[in-house]
Amino acid sequence: MLHNKSFVRKTKSGKITKNVREHYLRDDIYCGVPACKSCDSSAARLSACPSTILILDTNVVLNQIDLIENPAIDDVVVLSIVLQEVRNKNMAVYNRVRALCSNSARKFFVFSNEHHKDTFVQDMAGESKNDRNDRAIRVAAQWYQNHLGGVAKVLLITNDRENKRKAMEMGISAETIETYVKTLGQQDLLDLLVRPPSEDVVMEEVEDLRPSKRKVIYAEHKPMSEITSGLHRGIYHQGKLRVNRYNPFEAYVGSESIGDEIIIYDRTNMNRAFDGDIVAVELLPQEQWQEENSLSLADEEHEEEDVHLVPGSADDAPRTANPGQGSGANADLPSSRPSGRVVGIIKRNWHSYCGSLEPMPMPAGDGGVAHALFVSKDRRIPKIRIQTRQLGNLVSKRIVVTVDSWDRMSRYPSGHYVRTIGEIGDRDTESEVVLIENDIDARPFSSQVLACLPPLPWSVSSEDLANPIRQDLRHIRAFSVDPPGCKDIDDALHCTALPNGNFEVGVHIADVTNFVHPGTPLDDEASQRGTSVYLVERRIDMLPKPLTEDICSLRADVERLAFSVIWEMTPEAEIISTRYTKSIIKSCAALSYIEAQARMDDSRLVDPLTTDLRNMNALAKIMRQRRIERGALTLASAEVKFQIDTETHDPLDIGMYQIREANQMVEEFMLAANVSVAEKILKHFPVCSLLRRHPTPTKEMLEPLLRTAAAVGVNLDVSTSRALADSLDRAVGDDPYFNKLIRILATRCMTQAVYFCSGDLSPPEYHHYGLAAPLYTHFTSPIRRYADVIVHRLLAASLGIYKLPTVFQDAAQLTSIADNLNYRHRNAQMASRSSVELHTLVYFRKRPTDTEARIVKIRSNGFIVFVPKYGIEGPVYLTERSEKGEGEWFMDEQQQQIRKMDGSVTYGVLQKVQIHLEVVEPQPNRPKLQLTLI
């Protein structure tokens, strides 16, 4: 045991209390150079014979992380004081540096200079914290230089002039990052360099041709002290800024202090805040609340809406802050929603963005350095100015760019180029963009993860059979019903008629947790990924393929491990008893929905399997009916299905996904299994169960639905889910598609269901509105959802056959797991949608089409239509985009109609129209789908 001299350190915190901490200095901290003779080199990470060792100061790490991540920068010593400062300033950068330090392909070594007896520096009187830390960095650099003698050159990288001068005085070589990068002789590295703000002056001339340049465009951000006191006094409000996905000139700040959302109109009021930033907002005077609204529409940069996929829920739908937007019809009504402006940014959410450069002419001269504007794919992000030496190369590419700064004088933030993804329009590139945009990890599984898999070929072993916790159900006639071509089969069913006239019904789920153990790299990876992601042409798995498609997949005619829920049910589908067990099953058939349906429909078939199917279907129908009577909503979504060419991966056909009775049958038993499991785990673990809830929609959320329904003379009762379900049933017009349309509109008013930890909420909040179930969870798809893996562990623990893993005792960690699952789920859905949109575009590029559409929303200069056949919606303009529609067309807010002034033509909501679909390219390489009225 080693003790070194101890000393005391005093820090003042908050109140005037003196904290005394011990600080041990050690002599067993080594330099990390393998060739060093005086150090233990077992933990050394630098090259065997490095020519130059770099020591970076804090600001270099903070600002130049993209450059540092480039493999050209290596043999870096990261001092613990630098890590500590980076950690305090920017957690994201800290995590990236830490990742570099643990990456075995890179040569980054952490030197704990603060605990080394020779490199620790005492605070000096009158010295600021920064100066002290800079001195510590120089002392460490000097120690390295002396310690290594002539073996390697030690170079301190700092952009701080004073620090550099002092270092030179001490005899340490020091350079700025820019000079160092130039010595490497790689031109493209210079693009990665973040330029200090002082150089911004050069950018002035490229700040396009607007006369407004160099004027102060944005209000000053208040200093932190003022913000804090303002928040205390209640004149400022803190919250996370969320920019409207469909209108980037409108943002919302959910504020706890006023218990409502504050709307921020246009970029001036957003005052350089990005989506996701934590901001301080000041409310505007009430008389300006409405005025701001009309201003936003007059914005010169206001972009038109794109054609997009039909929203599946309120989370996807464009938000309409004000019903009378742009009509001017209710301008006299004061808006009830507070609006405000951003006065300061408490925490930035800057990261890197995918997009492309705005087309521009090649610059002449200037050493090949061009200033360009980057347009993010994510419309919520403003354009970003960058400098590049490879403009000609980048114009036609999808690239990744990071934001560095945004000063008051510039309209746009400035940033730097990080990397190229590929050609614009190329399907692989665009798919990659979809993945990056949604933060989806599509990298192959690491060798550590793959090492956790059981050896192949795998089969049920005699130990499994002998295991007392596992019931042998191989004699049971189990089968699976899935979409055609499904390889990752995670559920199977059985239904046996009992002598007493009842039925034994079983749901058997792949026993994933038998292979995925808590705390293993495999489990960590799955937990991070959260879900499999389904794109049109590929699937990104949560678990490695051998597990998903073979070992866990409940394929036909092979013995597989399962986790079963088995009920005894009366012919009236009343559950008499429920039992849960780990099991071994042997599926006798892997049916597709179509096959299952065909068997049930073919009255000539009387084989046992078909009988089982029919029995199950009968039970499912009763269960479904009962669920609907309870008030479960049968909502409709417009799910699209592509037929993909197996060779070229081009979409061949596109159409709506057809739902059969067989689908509904399987769904019904999955729902029942999930409910039964939710009850069981909550009973045993009231505070640490993972459940799924669907919040009851508020009146405001249903407002657009009610307005549309009222306009076509349908009265909807939304007081309870039951009432809504009933009135949806009654909403039938002479048009057979009418009811479905209303249901689609209802679906998009509701938010999505979310995972949560039972300890975080009270039981009434557990409610699942859409299913009208007091309790719900996910148990049935552990191959592709991590939530189900967690629930399997909970269920196993509640049966007493396995211990509950330790994370379940950590409420905070459990909550963060649930949050991550929701985030991943959401992203996976967004990615699927983007992927479908991408393929829709590819499909129509060669096939301009005429089709039928429905008007779903009226605008002042046109309307939004929904195209049922392709599941898309988008704007149809009646006038030129520049005109506002006034004069020729009149919009009737009450009737939800738009009329020609002379009364000759009228378009109303839900009306059927014929439209033409075509891909146009208003700018080179920027194709988009356009809808026009025929």
Binding site: T17, V20, R21, E22, R26, H115, Q809
Partner: protein
């Protein structure tokens, strides 16, 4: 919060299995029959022992064994805030009880019937692990008072943070809210006399953490023996033996 860096150093620069610096002194209170100061890092505890002497309150007298009493307190200056420390609050009552029971278990009380032994422990400086330091100080003070004991009692704590067992938590680590296992042992007899834990730990992790604490206790015992030996040598020297 990062309590153990990937380089394997704790916030104060120790490695997970390392104890803080120990220091002890005997005979620090002249009036007492035995006394000692015990220091673990920045935690400093003084203990004074009076007795065996006549039982003050006759009704408490026991005919077959000695009465052991213990009073624990914290000096007002022992923490940063310099607030008045209550005497009868829950925490001090609990620690008094823990120290009394632990010491009682090793004093050969049956040799001193109808007598009373008073142990006073006061925390002069608090930086985590106070109850361990109290027990260690009390052991030394009892030895200084020449009270017959079965064995020494030594104590040390261990915790579990960032999935790493940590020996001898200081205040910062202790306030992390993780599990904190306090163990007291009779080192020669290899017996555990005290085991306390707040919060939960899975049983196999608990085993590791407890083993670590026991190792800590043994290290403390080695040090205490050195101090006793040194002290005896001093006494011999003074008596001119």
């Amino acid at each position: 919060m990062e309590y153990v860096s990937p380089e394997g150093l704790r916030i104060d620069g120790r490695r997970p299995m390392e104890m803080r610096k120990l220091h002890a002194e005997m005979g620090v209170v002249a009036k007492a029959d035995g006394s000692a100061v015990f220091v673990m890092g920045n935690t400093k505890v003084i203990a004074a022992v009076y007795g065996p002497r006549e039982v003050q309150n006759r009704s408490q007298q026991m005919s077959d064994q000695a009465l052991v009493r213990c009073e624990y307190s914290m000096a007002n200056f022992s923490t940063g805030d310099r607030m008045r420390k209550g005497k009868g609050d829950r925490r001090s009552t609990e620690i008094s009880l823990v120290v009394r029971q632990t010491m009682e278990a090793c004093i050969l009380t049956h040799l001193m019937p109808r007598s009373q032994i008073d142990i006073y422990v006061q925390v002069l400086q608090a930086d985590g692990g106070t109850r361990c330091a109290c027990i260690n100080a009390a052991t030394l003070a009892l030895a200084d008072a020449a009270i017959p004991m079965r064995d020494l009692v030594t104590s040390c704590s261990a915790g579990y943070l960032n999935s790493t067992p940590l020996l001898d938590l200081n205040y910062v680590e202790d306030s992390a809210g993780g599990p904190d296992v306090t163990v007291g042992i009779l080192p020669k007899m290899d017996k555990v006399t005290l085991l306390q834990m707040d919060s939960k730990l899975p049983i196999d992790t608990f085993d590791n953490v407890m083993q670590l604490a026991i190792e800590g206790c043994k290290a403390v015992a080695t040090y205490i023996r050195e101090v006793l030996l040194e002290n005896t040598k001093q006494l011999e020297y003074h008596r001119g033996v």
